[in-house]
Structures are given as structure tokens and as C-alpha cells.
Symmetry: C2
Subunit: 184 residues, 2 copies
């Protein structure tokens, strides 16, 4: 086992924003040296693979084409968003599916939960599979540039293979659902 | 298509650390309102699925058990690390495989490149498959608590299914390699 190092000497908040906070932690390393680590604190998020249509072997998947300032471009993603105070992961998944894709689902199943990039942030994203989906009108937030697309699961898998889809949470959720829920 | 919004009004650096920098950008939203976005700037990273052993159908995979301060616990991950100045992604993958797992590989193949969490950071991780691997002694950095483990690919896939593995880059790289390089 890797021993948890009980060696945090100090912590200071270096930045507090709307979505993230930055703590600089002073720790003692395994060799006795002192190091500073930057940790981005985040409330966590949920994301959802929403399946549509009657074809059980190759269902439709709701994808978003979303402009991302951080990426300076448009990415293919599944509906997702940050947990609001007091909200459970599945409530967040349900709300974001409605807001971003305009869709409602009867059933939500937890797939897995990921650390997006644990070298510098505590952000976790809870991944869900949503079924029995009804698609309506999206209501994106004012800072979101989103278009909703419905593609076949087989097409989404091709977008992953060809590197057209690059968003980590979306790739994990789609590959996980395909392998462990559809045996494909 | 989603139109790229050419509406950045201002940008200020709110924090500059060892690994990340934080920019606060003022943008005009699609409805004309003004918003502030926090963007974590990161140099990018590489990560590598290193395959060992003679069994082509179920090879060994080098995993790390790594203590992560941000996660307040130990995670299962593949070898990975931040790009050094002037370093190419494959050079970074080769260096991190040697430093973290003590392993050398003859062949590196690019799998895909992911945005870890594009809602708030520009970090990209380049994922590689490494083959013809020779395992030696790891040389972790002073702030790293790491133990190296070799498991079968089938076991790594089980760790993903059962949620024992939670690190996004590792899950993407292993599921991608299994599906698109091993047809399994």
C-alpha cells in the first residue's frame, strides 16, 4: 500500500472564483523536503449519457456541440454541469439534461464517478445513463453556446476512435456504457 | 455549427503557481450580458498505457497506486506527467514511464488526446500505448507517493467496471486501447 502522508504543514486560499477556488498547500515530501502544491477546489459535477429511440442494439445518444473558452473551440460533449448547493448527483444530472439538451428521462443509472485530473483538482464527475428519454427545448445558461445533436451510439463510438470527440468525461461515459451496459 | 463567440472583453491573471495559472476573463454572453469566466491554464501532459508480457490477448498493464493530495487518497492510474518546456508529448510519455514506473518501451503509439475538464481548464492529456516494455527501478519525484503494479488488461478492465479505478485519463486510455487496439 501507498501510505497516506500525514504531512500537510499549511494551507492558504490563493484565489476564490465563481466555479473554482485555489488552495496552496505546504507539505513535507517523503524525503523530508518541503513542497508547495496547488489544489483547485471544485464542487463536483454530473454528466449523463441519454439514450433515445427504439433501437436497443444501436440507440441514439444526445450530444452537445459546445463552445468552450478554455479550449478556444467547439467540443463534442454529453450534457453535464456543476452540482448546485444541496443537490444530489442524480438531481444535477436530471437538471442539466433538461437545461442543456431539453430532455427528460424516466430512469437514471449511476455508471461510475471519475476524478477529472487529480494531479491538481479535487473535481469529481458522476456519470449516469439515462433511458426512456423525451426530447424538448433546451434552456442553456447565458454563458453557454450549445447545439444539441442526436447520433447513433455506433457513430459516437466512431467519433471517439477518430479523435473527433476529445472531452474526457464524455469518452469515459460512452465507452463505459457501451462496454458494460451494451456488451459492445 | 456553434459560432465561436468573439466577445472577450478583458483578461487578468488572478493566480500564477508552479503547475497552474488562473485567468479571469470577462466575456459578453449571447444575450448581451457580461460574465466572468475562470480559466485554469496548464502546460498539458502525457499518459501511457504500457503493455508487458508475452500474452497478446491479455497482456500486462503497468499501473500506479498513487497518493493524490487533491483526492485525499490513493488512486489507480497509468504513468503520466506534465510536459516540460520544449518537450514533445511522446518524449514526455517516455520520460514519465521511466521516472514513475521505471520502465522503458521500444514503441509508442498515439491513441487520442483529451481535454480533462474543459469547463474550466485548457489542460490536454496526450494518451499513448507503449509496447515492448522492459521494467526497471522507478525514480519518482520528491512529491510523489507511488507504487508500481502490473495487472492483466482483463483485471484493469474489471477495476474500471467496479469503480475501483476512478482516474479519467487512465480509464479513457485503457478502454480506448482495449476497444480500438485489441478488439476487446
Amino acid at each position: 500500500m501507498v501510505e497516506p502522508p500525514h504531512n500537510r504543514l499549511a494551507s492558504r486560499r490563493a484565489f476564490a472564483g465563481r466555479i473554482v477556488k485555489v488552495d496552496v498547500e505546504t507539505i513535507r515530501g517523503p524525503d523530508g523536503s518541503t513542497l508547495e502544491l496547488e489544489i483547485i477546489r471544485h464542487a463536483g459535477a454530473s454528466a449523463v449519457v441519454a439514450l433515445t429511440g427504439p433501437d436497443r442494439s444501436d440507440p441514439g445518444v444526445l450530444l452537445l456541440q459546445q463552445y468552450r473558452y478554455a479550449a478556444s473551440g467547439t467540443l463534442w460533449e454529453i450534457p453535464a454541469g456543476v452540482l448546485e448547493p444541496g443537490e444530489t448527483p442524480v438531481e444535477c444530472a436530471r437538471r442539466e439534461l433538461l437545461e442543456e439538451a431539453g430532455a427528460r428521462a424516466e430512469a437514471f443509472e449511476h455508471l461510475t464517478t471519475i476524478y477529472t485530473t487529480p494531479g491538481f483538482t479535487d473535481e469529481q464527475i458522476h456519470l449516469f445513463l439515462a433511458t426512456q428519454v423525451t426530447v424538448g427545448e433546451p434552456r442553456p445558461a447565458p454563458d453557454e453556446f450549445i447545439e444539441v445533436r442526436e447520433v447513433r451510439l455506433s457513430r459516437a463510438l466512431d467519433m471517439i476512435r477518430t479523435r473527433e470527440m476529445q472531452d474526457a468525461k464524455s469518452i469515459v461515459a460512452i465507452l463505459y456504457a457501451a462496454r458494460y451496459r451494451f456488451d459492445r
